[in-house]
Amino acid sequence: MTDSLFDRLGGEAAVNAAVDIFYRKVLSDPSINEFFDSTDMAGQHSKQKSFLTMAFGGPNNYSGKDLRAAHAPLVERGLNDSHFGAVAGHLQATLQELDVAANLIDEVMSIAGSTHDDVLNI
């Protein structure tokens, strides 16, 4: 029996371990932090949890359409490939910091990468 990626990563506990580290990296990055609304930190934090859950192969309700709609206002403000790459880089760095096995990191990055066109409304 094969466990899902989400299970192999450690499920919700893994998301909780990762989210603060990931969110701090994103907020510290001047090339992207302007896209993260700082007036509602708790709300943003919650969105990061949802994003990580999805990227870890966990249960989520995101459709491609949802991702497009959610990011359309950011695309209008200039969200582009370099920003996507920066966020992906922080996700990878977070998992490396948590000593996640390389093959699991690859699977996560693959899921994250698959959102590219929807996020950038391409």
Binding site: D20, Y23, R24, L27, S38, M41, A42
Partner: protein
């Protein structure tokens, strides 16, 4: 667009408009204050319709299951049918037992505790007077349920403050009030050994004082650092009581902070520091991994401190906030 049904009225929501905004736009006199999902003044009850999660998230389960929601953060996808009679059953009657004036701005009110009224020190109640049911304001509790048989709030007289001026100037023992609550999650919920950082401005000290007393009552062992800020020395009205706690408990550390750098100090040796409470707190605690943070008072300070605390290592879910969001009383919104 979905519509709101209120009595005989049917109000079609405009794009991006909250239920509250739609009601106000249509001339319906419904109470509200912070307009940001914090104070729960605007709470209404829906009889039918799908309530978005965000509009109920901060309410306790009992209220959620009865269809209560916060219209200021409600952007429904379906029609919503509101209960048109006021949801009176959530307010309880109380009366003023004692009022103490602390200084030219702040008074302390002790209200009778309704039977069965349960709360955690640091939570807040919504208060109104029985003959002005639309005038509702939130005040945080500084009393301790296990030790006090009254509910205590500390009220700051606000310029043009409708309820605060009544409470400060004219409320007297025996006056009846109605209260709802307790609400909020800024109450003691730390492990005993944890280091705690408490930051308050002005009357934000009230809930933190209650919270501190609760921590002590529950035998908190870790270090507790309190940064209490005001512009002027007169504003540090609770300092004597805090210092008394610090004298009795060696793990409690109080730092009083004056943000008005030109404020005069009558006695330089009273350990009052110059600077903003949050700036001094983070300068002295540059790394907060493993700390629990409790932040109360000025909304801008609370938001800034939440960000500062998180970025230097405090877990997001270990930062508890009670921002004092004041009702926008101007006719045109601030920029």
């Amino acid at each position: 667009m979905p519509a709101i049904h209120y009595g005989a009225s049917r109000i079609e929501l405009q794009a991006d408009e909250s239920v509250l905004q739609a009601l106000i736009r249509s001339g319906i006199d419904t109470p509200y204050s912070c307009e940001s999902g914090c104070c729960q003044t605007c709470m209404l009850q829906a009889e039918d319709g799908e309530l978005p999660a965000e509009s109920q998230a901060s309410l306790i389960g009992k209220l959620r299951s009865q269809g209560y929601f916060l219209p200021c953060v409600c952007h429904p996808q379906t029609d919503i049918y509101l209960r048109s009679e006021e949801a009176d059953n959530i307010y309880q009657v109380t009366h003023l037992i004692e009022k103490t004036i602390y200084n030219s701005e702040v008074c302390r009110l002790r209200l009778a505790r309704p039977t069965g009224f349960d709360y955690q020190a640091g939570q807040f109640i919504n208060v109104r007077s029985p003959d002005q049911k639309q005038l509702i304001r939130s005040y945080s509790l500084s009393s301790l349920a296990s030790e006090d048989d009254y509910l205590e709030i500390q009220v700051r007289l606000k310029r043009n403050g409708k309820l605060s001026s009544q409470l400060y100037n004219s409320a007297t023992a025996g006056d009846k009030f109605e209260i709802q609550g307790a609400n909020g999650n800024c109450f003691y919920q730390s492990e005993s050994q944890q280091s705690l950082l408490l930051i308050a401005t002005h009357t934000g000290i009230a809930p933190l004082f209650g919270l501190l007393r609760q921590a002590i009552a529950q035998g908190h062992l870790g270090q507790v650092f309190v940064y209490y800020g005001s512009r002027e020395i007169e504003g540090l009205y609770l300092l004597p009581e805090l210092q008394a706690l610090a004298q009795q408990h060696s793990n409690v550390n109080i730092t009083a902070c004056l943000s008005n750098l030109e404020a005069s100090l009558t006695d330089e040796s009273t350990a009052v520091r110059r600077g903003r409470a949050n700036d001094l707190a983070f300068a002295e605690h540059p790394q907060l991994q493993g700390y629990d943070l409790y932040l109360c008072g000025n909304a801008e300070m609370v938001k800034a401190a939440q960000m500062q605390g998180f970025m230097v290592g405090a877990g997001m879910d270990r930062i508890f906030t009670d921002p004092f969001e004041y009702k926008e009383l101007r006719k045109t919104a601030r920029e």
